[in-house]
């Protein structure tokens, strides 16, 4: 019991640290496509560690099942919305600043305008 509580302190503090790092990243990083990575840190590591820390406190109850469901939904929905956001930004002509010159065939046909079956 005590070991679980100490583990939960560790997870909660680590999760808090990573979520603040992600927040700093979303402020510091230079342009939109980089900032998405800062948001990704808080969505995966911050949320995951905090929820795991709470799971350690919850014990094997229905509360733990709910926390697991929240974790599951966050891991499914956060990359989906991140992808939708990036795709939408690219469609609207937000040019990603690149440090490396991309190969000519790297960027696919510029996706101007919505196409059929585009599900974002």
């Amino acid at each position: 019991m005590i070991a679980l509580e100490i583990a939960s302190w560790f997870f909660l503090i680590a999760g808090a640290f990573f979520s603040i790092v992600g927040g700093i990243g979303i402020i510091r990083l230079p342009e939109f496509f980089s900032r998405m990575h800062g948001g990704g840190i808080t969505d995966t590591m911050g949320a995951g560690l905090i929820l795991i820390g709470l799971l350690c406190l919850a014990g094997p109850t229905l509360v733990a099942a709910k926390l697991l469901a929240i974790l599951f939904f966050l891991t499914i929905t956060s990359p989906s919305s991140c992808h939708a956001l990036a795709h939408s930004a690219l469609i609207h002509g937000v040019k990603p600043e690149l440090d490396v010159k991309p190969k000519p065939n790297t960027i696919m046909n510029p996706p101007y305008g919505p196409r059929d079956g585009d599900a974002s």
């Binding site: 496509f33 990704g40 590591m45 995951g48 099942a65 990359p79 795709h87 600043e97 690149l98």
Partner: protein, 160 residues
Amino acid sequence: MRYAFWLTVALIATWLLWSGHFDNPFLLGLGALSVLVSLYVSLRMKIVDEEGAPAQLGIRPFVFYAPWLAKEIVESNLAVAKIILSRKMKLKRNMITIRSHQKCELGRVILANSITLTPGTVSVQMEDDKILIHGLNLEETEEDMSGEMDERICRLEKSK
């Protein structure tokens, strides 16, 4: 039929777990009603197939794939956190295209979501079997970038 069965099981489990009432007949009746309604609606929408209710994957994504993905996420998280906290951010932003080798759409979606879930790489666009990736600090070449992920998901969907 198999997909509908497993969808029903998942819906019933969801209702029981989230409500937390196991002995109140009124609430159980409401649960049965809502399970039937959602089953009917999803059958009518024709989304009960290997994509909407991926019963063919079973429990393997959680047992074999999720732990490995969690390890990858932790590693790339540490890398990105180091970049953000360093005084002079050493960015090497790049966009590359990789090819996925999965057979069905579900495998490709899992691959793209896993790529986005690991910080430092975001899948921006998907076309047929090509995935355009924006990377914060990409050092790998296109081949070994997410090669293992691709292979693992292929194995996941192949073994039925």
